[in-house]
Amino acid sequence: MISEITLIRTLLSILGITVVVGVNAIFVVWFERKVAGHMQYRLGPTEVGPAGLLQTVADGLKLVSKQIIFPQSADKPIFILAPIICLVPVFIALVPVPFSATWQAHELDVGLLLVIALGLLNTLGILLAGWGCDNKYALLGASRAVAQILAYKIPLLLCILPIILLSGSFSLREIVLVQEQSTWFALYQPVGFLIYLIAITLETNRSPFDFAEAESELVAGFHTEYSGMMFSLFFLAEYTYMLVASAIAAILFLGGWLGPFLPGPVWMLLKIYFFLFLMMWFRWTFPRVRVDQMLSFGWKILLPISLLNFLITAGVMAAL
């Protein structure tokens, strides 16, 4: 039932995912600071390592060595569990993601569903963080996070559904292989693609939708009370979630690892970091919108458009 090969493969996959999560976080934090710097006409980090590349490593070491402070009135088990509940689901969400036809930790025929379900667990972590530390800013941030996830999960799912209709599969690998036969689904689903981009910016709590941690209103929102390594776990979770959301975007709309000349994983990484760059671009050029604007935009505009998009796609497919 369980052969040596599957066991070695499983262990290697776990190792691989851990490396991807770590290296991605180190790289993306550096990349974000560089992008922010250049957009504001300055250089960003330059001192540590070539072009400041090792800056994040230095910051990481500092964070690890810092003391973890527990607020006196905090609910200790929940306080400790919250960052872990945030990180573990996004870690597992990398399992069904294919980086090329052969580079995939585990092929699941419900891979896409798994990633969506695990995205919801991440919200639970944020919510528990808000509750656990008994701080009103944190609680406000957490309840905003839940309100925004409820408002945007439905349009997100509704713009994924046409892709499933087009490809006839929930397996991420299959979805890419179908695009090899036809063409990128972004061309068939431009509206869905746009809604997906807006929804993942929201899902990952990125500005202009970073209500859960809005610095100027809520200090730091749900992670106000966290320090040291527990704080960096939240950041690790956020950057890994961005990686997962970008990978899913690349797979669903831009044909995953498909592309000429370069090998598959290179194309996949290029597409992922293109989406990450896009999200950073949003962050450093758009001001934060108001909470009520965000909610009414989600429920009153995105939801009907994505529903209509889904119905039209289904109608056209039934007619052809």
């Binding site: 369980i2 379900a117 839940v146 409820l150």
Partner: protein, 170 residues
């Protein structure tokens, strides 16, 4: 052969962890004095049930369990909890003689399930099952019940909205 042994040990160990998590979660959900801890216990048990589905060879059911129960139901409960002001520390009331009833019901249900399954074949390690008949059944043979359930949900949503509207008018 040692590899095989090692793999089976891991399999058994993860199954045991899952069971312990479920039982602790269930006890927490019922016994805890703090409403948030009860909620956390509920989440632990529901995730454990998802894990059991996976062990029984149905990833689809496992994912659906996480999505519907943990993702939707628990987040909705959590949202409700964050709107209440008491954290639920009123404490447990002594249930008295009524405390005898739940164990009896539990034992009766467990017994009937085990009796029903007694003549089935015992399998050590279930294989992954083909899940596509679930979808075909839902949209074929069981289409009517499926649609009736969705009407029920629509009624619930409309009810919630109308309750909220009445409250706002007063």
């Amino acid at each position: 052969m040692s590899f095989e042994r090692f793999a089976l040990d891991i399999y058994a160990l993860s199954f045991a962890v899952l069971l312990v998590q479920m039982v602790i979660g269930a006890i927490m959900a019922v016994r805890s004095q703090n409403l948030v801890h009860c909620f956390l216990g509920l989440v632990m048990t529901l995730i454990g049930v998802a894990g059991l589905y996976y062990f029984l060879g149905s990833p689809l059911l496992a994912v659906m369990q996480v999505m519907i129960y943990v993702g939707a139901v628990c987040v909705a409960i959590a949202f409700g909890l964050s709107l209440t002001h008491k954290s639920g520390e009123e404490g447990l009331q002594n249930p008295g003689l009524r405390a005898i009833v739940p164990p009896f019901i539990t034992l009766a249900m467990l017994g009937s399930v085990l009796l029903g399954l007694a003549d089935r074949e015992w399998v050590g390690y279930p294989q992954k099952i083909d899940e596509s008949p679930i979808g075909q059944m839902l949209l074929g043979e069981y289409l009517l019940p499926f649609e009736v359930i969705s009407i029920l949900l629509t009624v619930a949503v409309i009810g919630a909205i109308s309750v909220a509207l009445i409250r706002r008018r007063n």
